[in-house]
Symmetry: C2
Subunit: 245 residues, 2 copies
């Protein structure tokens, strides 16, 4: 028995998200089918976490156990021939049998891209959120500092999510302007459903001047979803990296 | 009568190219249909030149004459609602009635992106040419110098093209490495069919060590297509800008 860890890049545009569901094509399903074709054996992929429809990944991590004899580092070459162009395995290796992509993850970094030009741009459309308004970066940077730390982030979770605890730790947020693009990098130990997109939506509200940077502590303390900003759309979001000990 | 100049960005992935043709959807056709819907009048778009299937544009230029009363600068807003997301008008303005996008163009810059990592990448797949081999950038830069000037570029034209003259002027070629990406910028007065892609294909042959940088003058002098390198694939190519006096 081997335990294989895959690092996966995908464009989420044409998928219902990471996780298998009925009546829609998920990234997990496409990967499991390719693995079945390769191994002649049904395997179950354990992802580090879900990504929603339209969300991309540069470094999603997933593992599976197999009786197959293929060396771990060969999967990335073999799967290249069995996967569509919008799902690519950028690394593969054999890991300890106990390794679990979700339980063992100690942190994640997400990237969010805002395209801040006046008119929509064809090339960016599936990889950014188009915001044609003036955005005050300095205010957003000030606001971002209030998120750093361990808090109950219930106000930054999709309504109706079920989860045992809404306490999470945000380690770092950086915001960089590159021409017409604004890139957000958000690192935390783990994230609630839609948490990154709601944080970005709230930071953008600060950027527009709708709320003040120092409003963040009160929004967190309220634990009420409706106090935070809107959920930024999925196409700007990239799961950049998952950390393990 | 007004003459309107549009600057257009598009992702060419899902189109047969710029120019209208039977049994395939072109970018020109989609734009003309949107203009007809807007103006209730059939107009003919004159593009600065064709782009092939799969080739993108950041700044394609096209003009059309109309009896419509819409101010030139309003088209970019009005067309936003009538075009699919992969074709966007980034600028529009009224120009002199004599302006002609093709005849008046004095130069063009193309960008070509090579992704030079070992494994294919989902996010780049429609916007770059994946080359997994070692590429010697310095040799390519040396080779690129031999293209600068006015020459008969018949060796760098798609076979069977019909054109009155194959003499063209290349003004500048720059090659930049940005992480795993190699960006080529090629500026000239005008270009033969597939000329940029054959130049890139030939520069890559230099980069692989298949031919020497100083082989270029002989390839140009041969005027034979088969002496040059292969035509690099369309998805790495972007028409970046068209120049006018």
């Amino acid at each position: 028995m081997k335990n294989i860890k895959l690092t996966i890049e995908y464009e989420g545009t044409n998928y219902s998200g990471w996780q298998i569901q009925e009546n829609a094509i998920s990234i997990q399903e496409v990967l499991e089918k390719a693995l079945k074709e390769l191994l002649k054996e049904k395997v179950t992929l354990i992802g580090s976490g879900r990504t929603d429809a339209g969300v991309h990944a540069l470094g999603q991590v997933a593992n599976f156990r197999t009786n197959g004899s293929i060396p771990g580092e060969k999967y990335k070459y073999a799967l290249k021939l069995l996967l569509p162009g919008d799902i690519t395995v950028v690394d593969s290796r054999e890991v300890d049998l106990k390794f679990h992509s979700r339980f063992d993850a100690t942190g994640k970094v997400y990237k969010y891209i805002v395209y801040n030009g006046e008119l929509p741009r064809a090339i960016y459309r599936n990889f950014s959120y188009h915001v044609p308004y003036n955005i005050d970066i300095d205010s957003m940077v000030k606001g971002s500092k209030y998120f750093i730390g361990t808090y109950d982030f219930a106000a930054f979770m999709a309504a109706k999510s079920e989860v045992s605890s809404t306490i999470r730790t945000i380690k770092q947020i950086s915001i960089e302007k590159k021409g017409d693009l604004i890139e957000f990098y958000i690192e935390g130990n783990s994230f609630l459903r839609n948490m990154v997109r709601i944080i970005v939506g709230t930071l953008l509200y600060i950027g527009y001047g709708k709320i003040k940077p120092n409003a963040i502590p009160n929004i967190i303390a309220s634990k009420k979803r409706e106090k935070a900003g809107p959920t930024a759309p999925p196409q700007g979001l990239f799961l950049k990296e998952v950390f393990y000990p």
